[in-house]
Symmetry: C2
Subunit: 327 residues, 2 copies
């Protein structure tokens, strides 16, 4: 018996979803997360070669491989701002995934089509307004993603701490908290703030199954609390691990570089950072919680550690609340 | 018997501190918070007239008045970047406050002097490095303040969600979480993230005792989730409630205005916003959690509500964790 409504909805044991990470969220990582009781996801760009390749066909192959590696539910991330978004949704339907998580676009686009195919639809939001809209167009649950998250963030810069309770108050559907979560403390704090479950990206980046380059994984493990930075504030708000490239970018931005100059510095660097591990010239989206991550373990290790640490974390909380018989 | 180490250290019943708010943290609000079991604080600029006045003497009078209004501990906020900082510390010693909370400067300056007078010294930090430094120079506890907070924030933009657990891991002294907290969910989430207690500013701004202008209190109550914004990104990072002035400022910033032009737009506007309630021309520091605040109540009401809501919040958490017999 599992009373968590997100777990019930998605058919998973633990309310932990792997955040879709461009280039790196592949079949092996997804299966690792799902086999451990969470929800693993694959992305269209997973492991694509420098030459590009066909992300639609790539998505199909990663779904198929993930389904070979686990009999548990698998999800896909659909970046709705891409030209191929509809094709991604069609692949999700054709290959029979359990969950589709939309982001960076209008949730009205393919929610009906996906739901008609029996797929649960989640949508990533960064404000109350967008959460209400997602619910209104039939999305099954929202992922409330704070400013702490790696990659593209909302322009309003609402953090996990302020976004989650306000989204939880605004919608009736389940809420998944994302951004800044990497251990049992963040997991439980997110649930207390009003979420039904969590989505973690960066914690799953530093796992053995992840195809991110070893140098990037080590950079995450070695990152201090100040190890990430916002680039592209004028071109959207994107959080990356600090590299030689982000330093150059911020210096150019401070000197008043044009949008074209900034684009030239930043665009086309993600594969270099994520898959080639070039921490000088490359760019790698990374959450602000990198500083808390101290080891590279399996996806199962990540999930089991969080679940195993719950009793001790609750005991600590109760000790702090022992403030005079009654509150 | 109170087992919370922050409560033990400060001699208070509940681990809730009122954040020092320039212009508005006066004797009545401080006494209201302390009488309700938290720690109230006064600031040198509380209620000063447009002509300025003497903030040192003003601080002394507010301490004296607060001590007339409560027999519980009272704190002072010492902005360490001000010329009069040493005088503020001397007033704290002379008037015998219980707690001094330093911010925006070097904690080494007056910690020894204050501690020799039997005053507990807290210091506001926004990164692990500064937390470690504060502990090393003898501070009794750190206030880990996230990017959500109103007023001046750290340049690294570390949010409450990522800052608190990393500071808690880095120091042995008690940690107070600040930024984004306004209800029982934030209170408990902060404790779970590793804090021993919380500091709240904006929630106490919207109280009956607070001398902030009624128009500002109403603006807080009516603020949506996106109701605050960062101004002065080039001059420090300051969070304010959105006003006509912040709109003009951001437009000027986007057009590439000079630092001098930006200063002219922003400086000298705080009293107008906070005490005169001018939501067009004034500026008012305000936390990102304003959107969660829906009413103006007494300071005691704020504290009693949080404490009273704890059992229900923990029950909700336990329900979400009922995920299959064991985790």
């Amino acid at each position: 018996m599992n009373n968590n409504r997100l777990c019930q909805m998605l058919g998973i044991r633990y309310p932990i979803i792997a955040g879709g990470m461009n280039w790196v969220s592949n079949a092996e990582l997804a299966a690792g997360v799902s086999n451990a009781g969470g929800l693993g996801v694959v992305v269209p760009s997973a492991g694509l070669p420098p030459s590009g390749g066909d992300p639609v066909e790539n998505l199909r192959q990663h779904i198929r491989k993930a389904k070979q590696l686990t009999d548990k539910p698998i999800g896909v991330n659909i970046p709705l701002d891409r030209k191929a978004a509809k094709s991604y949704a069609e692949v999700a339907v054709a290959e029979g995934v359990s969950v589709a998580i939309g982001s960076a676009g209008n949730p009205a686009l393919y929610t009906g089509m996906l739901k008609n195919a029996g797929i649960k639809v989640l949508h990533v939001v960064a404000s109350v307004k967008h959460a209400r809209h997602a619910e209104a167009v039939g999305v099954d649950a929202v992922v409330a993603e704070g400013y702490e998250a790696g990659g593209h963030n909302g322009l309003d810069e609402l953090t996990t701490f302020v976004l989650v309770p306000q989204v939880a108050d605004a919608v009736k559907i389940p809420v998944v908290a994302a951004g800044g979560i990497a251990d049992v403390r963040g997991f439980l704090a997110a649930l207390l703030l009003g979420a039904d479950g969590v989505q973690m990206g960066t914690r799953f980046l530093a796992t053995t199954e992840c195809i991110a380059h070893q140098k990037l994984k080590e950079a995450v493990v070695n990152a201090p609390d100040t190890g990430t930075v916002i680039v592209m504030r004028k071109l959207g708000v994107t959080r990356s691990i600090k590299t030689g490239m982000t330093q150059k970018y911020l210096e150019a931005e401070a000197k008043g570089a044009s949008i074209e100059e900034l684009k030239a510095l930043r665009y086309g660097r993600a594969r270099m950072g994520l898959l080639e591990g070039d921490m000088e010239e490359g760019d790698a989206s990374c959450g602000a919680i990198a500083g808390l991550i101290k080891d590279i373990v399996s996806a199962e290790g990540v999930i089991n550690r969080i679940m195993g640490d719950i009793p001790q974390a609750l005991n600590k909380l109760n000790g702090k609340l022992n403030i005079g018989g009654k509150y």
